[in-house]
């Protein structure tokens, strides 16, 4: 018998997400047979930016998201660098990378322990963990306590990752140090020393605890290597420039279809955003973000739509973005595409980035400049493509009369949690939920496990 149920809010994510799910029994297995994922907060950042000084974009767009602000600062300064045709000095490039990397590390450890793990183990019997869905628990009490100890340690480690980023960035969330042409802070020796001390502690935590705990989880829930695959299409823009031209990067961009092991180059011109099922004007359907528009409509006037997210598509197809996509396209992780593969790829990526940070500290040039002051052109259009912790992030900028004429943002969760597109094709997260076996339709913890494996960030996704 088909059952329809709504789960709103989806907790332990960033932002406002609700899912409406149809359950049915097929071949004796009760499972998800249909799903609609809805982003439920619209603020209109893109329209708020119009008419402002282009230099404001890094400071304003960071406020899209309290969890991954730094990546927005990075995307915005990259768009501005391109518009101003300015070359960032080596120290500026490295300082940007260092602070951005701390946000990746913070976000990845926070996600595994605080956001994802409570789907698998029972927390203490107290608020806000009290009302808990105790379904399909496989760890015994001793194991649960060991994992909860990791949860506790993570509260300290993620705080330290923020302190590490603030050493150069000023404060986190929302560091003020990202400016077009470079960075505001100089790499002072005592701060480099402190940064390195934090880094060593975080590397040890990721290597000795986060990765082993993720592998332990995967061993106890190995059936989740076959759950939550989705369409298998993976996309990355690439990030962390390793030279002043951006030719070499820690993560290169690319895309694959259906789990292919042969990544193809990606081209931002192939991106369009659909709004057939989103609360925006129909005439803005199918635009490339370079000429994109955000024209909200009253949800009551568009009942066929169900989300404030647009539906981005690459060559017309939905793509998953995130740590697994980056690690896959760069050949670092190709075990599979599933709930557990996402967790393992994320943990291993945290270590890859942290080890790279170690090398970057050595590359800072004593007394070298951090910023080449740019001149804002009267008119320009440009794009800043990078990666946020949750996946590919792009800011598209148009300047006219020296002010922002148009600004469009597509974030990782816009890709992952998108609604259906103009052909009715489901978004990646929706697709991944189809077929998920569910024991108790009133407490579908399995649905939450699939959703959390994407680490959704809804305030980013709609902005």
């Amino acid at each position: 018998m088909k059952i329809t149920a709504s789960f709103d809010p989806v907790s332990r994510i960033e932002g406002h997400l609700g899912v409406e799910v149809d359950f049915d029994t097929i071949d004796g297995i009760q499972q998800v047979v249909n799903v609609r994922a809805s982003g439920l907060l619209f603020r209109g950042f893109e329209n708020i930016l119009i008419g402002r000084d282009p230099r404001d974009a890094p400071l304003i767009t960071q406020r899209i998201c309290g969890v991954c602000p730094v990546a927005h600062g990075m995307a915005a300064v990259k768009a501005l660098d391109a518009a101003c045709a300015v070359t960032v000095p080596a120290n500026g490039r490295i300082m940007r990378n260092l602070v951005n990397a701390t946000n990746f590390i913070e976000s990845h450890v926070l996600h595994f322990y605080l956001l994802a793990l409570p789907d698998f183990i029972a927390g203490p019997s107290m608020p806000p963990w009290r009302a808990d869905w105790s379904v399909d628990r496989r760890f015994d009490q001793k194991a649960t306590e060991a994992l909860m100890a990791g949860y506790l340690k993570t509260i300290e480690m993620r705080r330290k990752a923020h302190e590490m980023g603030a050493l150069f960035g000023g404060k986190i969330p929302h560091p003020p140090a990202y400016v077009p042409g470079g960075f505001t802070a100089n790499p002072r020796p005592e701060r480099i020393r402190d940064f390195r001390a934090y880094l060593d502690e975080l590397i040890a935590f990721i290597r000795d605890r986060h990765i082993p705990d993720a592998e332990w989880l995967a061993s106890q829930y190995s059936d989740y290597f076959a759950i939550g695959r989705g369409n298998g299409n993976l996309l990355a823009y690439g990030a962390f420039d390793l030279d002043d031209t951006g030719t070499r990067r820690l993560f290169t961009g690319g895309h694959v279809l259906d789990g292919s092991l042969s990544p193809q180059p990606m081209d931002a011109a192939s991106i369009t955003e659909h709004v057939t099922y989103s609360w925006y004007q129909a005439k803005t359907n199918g635009l490339n973000p370079a000429s994109g528009k955000t024209s909200a409509v009253d949800p009551a006037s568009k009942n066929s739509a169900y989300s404030w997210l647009k539906a981005p598509r690459y060559s017309g197809k939905p793509y998953e973005v995130g740590p697994l996509a980056r690690m896959w396209i760069n050949g670092d992780y190709t075990n599979g595409i599933s709930v557990m593969d996402r967790h393992l790829a994320r943990a291993r990526e945290a270590l890859k980035i942290a080890l790279a940070v170690h090398d970057w500290l050595e590359e800072l040039v004593p007394e070298g400049p951090v910023c080449n002051p740019p001149t804002i052109p009267a008119s320009a259009s440009s794009v800043g493509l990078t990666e946020a912790p949750r996946g590919a992030l792009g800011h598209w900028l148009a300047i006219s009369g020296g002010t922002i004429a148009n600004y469009q943002v597509i974030t990782p969760t816009t890709w992952n949690a998108s609604p259906r597109d103009n052909k009715g094709v489901l978004g990646p997260l929706e697709e991944a939920l189809l077929g998920t076996p569910v024991e108790n339709t009133e407490k579908p913890v399995e649905v939450m496990r699939v959703i959390h494996s994407f680490d959704p960030c809804l305030d980013c996704a709609v902005h």
Binding site: S6, P9, V10, R12, E14, H16, G18, L40, L41, F42, R43, G44, N47, I48, I50, R52, D53, D56, L59, I60, R63, C65, G66, V67, P69, G92, P118, M126, P127, P128, W129, R130, A131, D132, E145, A146, M148, L152, I155, R158, R159, H162, E163, A166, L167, G169, G170, I172, P173, H174, P175, P176, G182, F183, T184, N186, R188, A296, P299, D459
Partner: protein
């Protein structure tokens, strides 16, 4: 390792953030809480970025690190965080029921993060669904404010509207005070400093009178001008970014019009603050934030 509630919360800033009480005296706090039911805190998210929740997780009491008895040792026994969507285990109706049960009991501290969008009948922000019906943040704020013992607006969006209210204000955002018409304590900042959030919640639990300025901000936290107290006051002017120890006024620093204690408290366990990374103050604690162009 035996995980008691106390041991757990001792490490958990999200609950134990209700700390930082040294000047108030632990004895008084203990007396205030002894024999009473746990004060309930309900934390809802509206039109914001949840940066204040993340900032709150950065709270650390140095005394706790040194193994000393702190106010949070006492308070962590006593706070019932009934609803916080980023942290809680449950989802959907299970979670909403927790919030509604607390509301029915009344007498809670209502912590609100994010402004209140009123466009589209409030549907620019749906906070949850109940009995299959979407509930707007606007409606939830009004309903939960009615039974609250006190209300704290956390962050600039809740306090004044913040960035979502700026420019064309696409979703017709108003502050918590405007949406509810009630007395509130505003703890602005983008994000709010974790110490400020903690301080406010503690005052409310203690029932202390809190002196507020014309913008409903506690004068104890927002009473002194940033520029006048800036360590870089009277330094030579910076002409571009990347110059250490210069005054940033000519680049656009808003310190002259800002009242916050960032200059002494600093950020992220006091490792740094905006001005000391040569990034100017953009006035994120002020009602006018973000206002016009940020750079000169």
């Amino acid at each position: 390792m035996k995980l008691t509630r106390r041991a757990f919360l001792r490490h958990c800033a999200a609950c134990a953030g209700v700390i930082g009480l040294a000047p108030l005296g632990l004895g008084r706090l203990e007396a205030a809480l002894t024999g009473k039911a746990a004060p309930t805190v309900i934390w809802l998210h509206g039109s914001g970025c949840q940066g204040d929740s993340i900032s709150f997780l950065n709270r650390i009491d140095p005394a706790a690190d040194a193994g000393q008895q702190t106010a949070d040792d006492i308070l962590i026994h006593s706070i019932d965080l009934a609803y916080h969507t980023v942290l809680m285990s449950s989802a959907g109706e299970t979670a909403v029921t927790m919030a509604n049960e607390a509301r029915a009991k009344g007498g809670y501290v209502l912590a609100l993060e994010g402004g209140v969008p009123r466009a589209f009948g409030g549907r620019a922000c749906q906070v949850w669904s109940h009995n299959g019906q979407g509930v707007t943040y606007e409606q939830a704020v009004i309903d939960f404010a009615a039974n609250a013992q006190s209300i704290v607006s956390i962050g600039t969006c809740a306090s004044f509207g913040g960035i979502p209210r700026s420019g064309s204000n696409p979703t017709d955002v108003v502050s918590i005070k405007e949406a509810t018409g009630k007395n509130v304590i505003n703890i602005p900042g983008c994000p709010a400093h974790p110490d400020w959030i903690t301080w406010a919640i503690v005052q409310l639990i203690l029932g202390n009178p809190v002196k507020l300025d014309v913008h409903n901000r506690p004068t104890a936290l927002y009473g002194r001008n940033l520029h006048d107290n800036c360590p870089r006051l009277n330094r030579s002017q910076a002409t571009s970014f990347g110059q250490d120890n210069r005054c940033l006024l000519d680049l656009g620093c808003r310190g002259k019009t800002v009242c916050s204690d960032c200059w002494s408290r600093k950020w992220n366990n006091a490792v740094n603050w905006c001005v000391d990374c040569n990034g100017m103050c953009i006035g994120c604690t002020e009602p006018a934030f973000p206002g016009g162009d940020l750079y000169l």
